[in-house]
């Protein structure tokens, strides 16, 4: 149970306090000339004074006695997703219950800070009992979201001060890229590329293993045609080929463009980066589901190249998404060109380049890679329509 880090006091409007004090003073002066009315005057002065004093002191003491029992917040969430935040408060060492406690939390991610609520209320918090405030949070920006510090306000009716108990604790939530729904055109990305254009080697080597059969695509080596399966088909023009795979080697390289395009404005660039990041995450998951090993490459900053080897394992994909959660537009064109050439020269891997530029560059056209421009990456399929 964590006590408040500090208590912030906000006084009622000075004019109200001054008027109240002035009225008390005038009443006291007027009574001095009429001793017979002293009981009436004492009551008239004492009642409001005691009431205001008692509620003010009680507000401050109640705020001091508040304790945080627990905060429930997930460690990771996907952008565009929502989570439930709950704050459990208890009251310690206090004779009277806390009435009308209002709580709020601060949310900050990057340069975006939200510290205005909404306020959740706890109508009545009795001594040594706990009560929970619950919020729903929808987060749309990737990165690390900090939830906290938390504030609890106590202001009893009639109190001249508003006491705020501030609990300086923050919980980090990693906001992963948004969940992306891929269209079926992703299948076409690999059509013939795996064995043909993006792959220089045409026949399997000794270290490769037979992984299955699939339909023949233009560019496949005829020596790999699976005769038995092909003969079983009804269509005489339909063939199947055997697929081989070296477990120790990547099948695919995915290069994410993080260099700022020359055309367009800042908002458009950032929007396209968001789309590309979410798209890449979904693409890697699709390939992992097909038991393909993927090498992901992106430039994080100056001389900072992120290179991840992703086996079809959840742990690798989680690591990728954690990295993607923090990736920004920190690349440059020259480094990107070198990275692409390096990936193409790697032995046997097909290269998919997710570009931020609207058209494929000349240098990329010369390379045996698949370039996906923002036009290829569809808009996000889920639209949040806000309830007015």
């Amino acid at each position: 149970m964590n006590p408040p880090t500090r208590i912030e006091l906000a006084a009622a409007p000075v004019a109200g306090v001054a008027l109240f004090a002035g009225a008390l003073f005038v009443t006291a002066i007027a009574t001095a000339f009429h001793p017979a009315l002293r009981p009436l005057a004492i009551f008239a002065i004492a009642f409001p004074l005691l009431w205001v004093g008692a509620t003010s002191v009680l507000s401050v003491n109640t705020a001091r006695s508040l304790r945080i029992e627990g905060v429930q917040v997930p460690t990771r969430i996907r952008a565009m997703g929502s989570f439930r935040l709950s704050l459990t408060l208890s009251l310690d060492r206090q004779l009277f219950p806390a009435v009308g406690v209002m709580t709020k939390a601060k949310f900050s991610i990057g340069d975006v800070v939200s510290d205005v609520g909404p306020w959740a209320d706890i109508p009545n918090l009795t001594v040594r009992r706990s009560a929970t405030s619950v919020w729903d949070v929808l987060i749309k920006k990737r990165g690390t979201l900090f939830v906290g510090p938390f504030s609890a306000v106590v202001e009893l009716p009639g109190s001249l001060v508003r006491a705020t108990a501030v609990f300086e604790e923050a919980h980090a939530v990693t906001v992963l890229p948004a969940q992306y729904q891929l269209h079926p055109f992703v299948d076409a990305l690999l059509s013939g590329r795996h064995v043909a254009a993006g792959r220089f080697q045409k026949i399997p080597v000794a270290t490769e293993e037979y992984v299955g059969a699939r339909e023949y695509r233009p560019g496949d080596n005829p020596k790999l045609i699976h005769r038995v399966l092909s003969l079983r088909t009804f269509d005489p023009n339909e063939f199947y080929v055997r697929e081989f795979q070296d477990p120790s080697r990547e099948d695919l390289s995915i290069v994410l463009d993080t260099a700022k395009p020359l055309e367009g404005d800042e908002a458009m660039h950032r929007y396209r980066l968001e789309k590309a990041v979410s798209f890449v995450a979904a693409l890697c998951r699709i390939f992992a589901a097909r038991r393909l090993t993927v090498r992901f490459v992106a430039q994080r900053g100056l001389r900072d190249i992120l290179s991840l080897r992703l086996h079809p394992l959840d742990v690798d994909l989680d690591r990728l998404e954690r990295e993607l959660a923090h990736i920004e537009m920190g690349g440059d064109r020259s480094t990107l060109g070198r990275v692409l050439i390096h990936e193409v020269q790697r032995f046997g891997a097909a290269v998919i380049f997710v570009s931020l530029r609207p058209r494929e560059g000349l240098e990329q056209q010369r390379l045996p890679i698949v370039t996906l421009t923002p036009d290829h990456v569809p808009v996000f399929t889920r639209e949040v329509v806000w309830q007015q």
Binding site: L37, K140, Y271, W386
Partner: protein, 278 residues
Amino acid sequence: MIDWRRRADPAFYDKEPLVLQTQAQVPRYSEDEQAEARLRVLAADGMLHNVTTIFAVAAYLAVTSLGMLDPRTDWQTLGAFAVLAVAGPRALPWWPQEGARSTWRHALLGLAIVVVPAAWSRVDPMLFGVGFGVAVALLLTRGEIRLLLMAAAVAALLARALVIQPGVTLVLTLAFGFGVRMMLNVWRTQPQVAVPVAFAAVLLACTYSIALHATALSRHLALEIGALAIAYLGICTMAGRIRRAELLARPEGVLSLPQSVVPLLDRSHHHAVIVWLA
């Protein structure tokens, strides 16, 4: 590939430029809107209105010595306090809108609070005269004219006091004007300010009576203290109801601030963090 995309979704290429241009307006819960919501809660609170009426009547009884003031000599005080006790609460910003027929109720209430408390001690035609005068004044005035009537009541009280005790009256006048002005400035954002102002109003009214009608007040001190206690409890209850309205009228829907342009994957709005009560 591009051809395939074009065939599958011909409208696709027209979508993206619109994504950044289209944004829905998310309702923002500004201070003004919150004040309006709070006002609606207060206007719908029947208990608050009843308590306010009880407070005003009890305060009237306390400062007029439960009808012991002589209607022949103190008719201005009786009439002015009666007008303020009936019209004052109804001039509060959160008092619900009333129809034309409500002036009848106000007139009857004005007549009752003048006549009934005094009737047990004396039956004086002048008392009924004051009562009917108050009733007619309340019956014939509404809206801004009612405010003028209240101002006239205050002026009547001050005029009499100025003759007798100019110094105290000047201080009371300044304090009263200061209080009204302060209340008008901050009541929308801080409705709890009504509590010290109400306490101050009762105290100033008591001071007025103590200064000008000490003899009448000294006859039934216990009853006056009882009436004053009821008035104070009414203020405490009003404070509780105002606090309740503050809790009820807080932003219950979305509250997403600050509004910052962040890269978005939908076209609904540009808020990075949106929080609402579960």
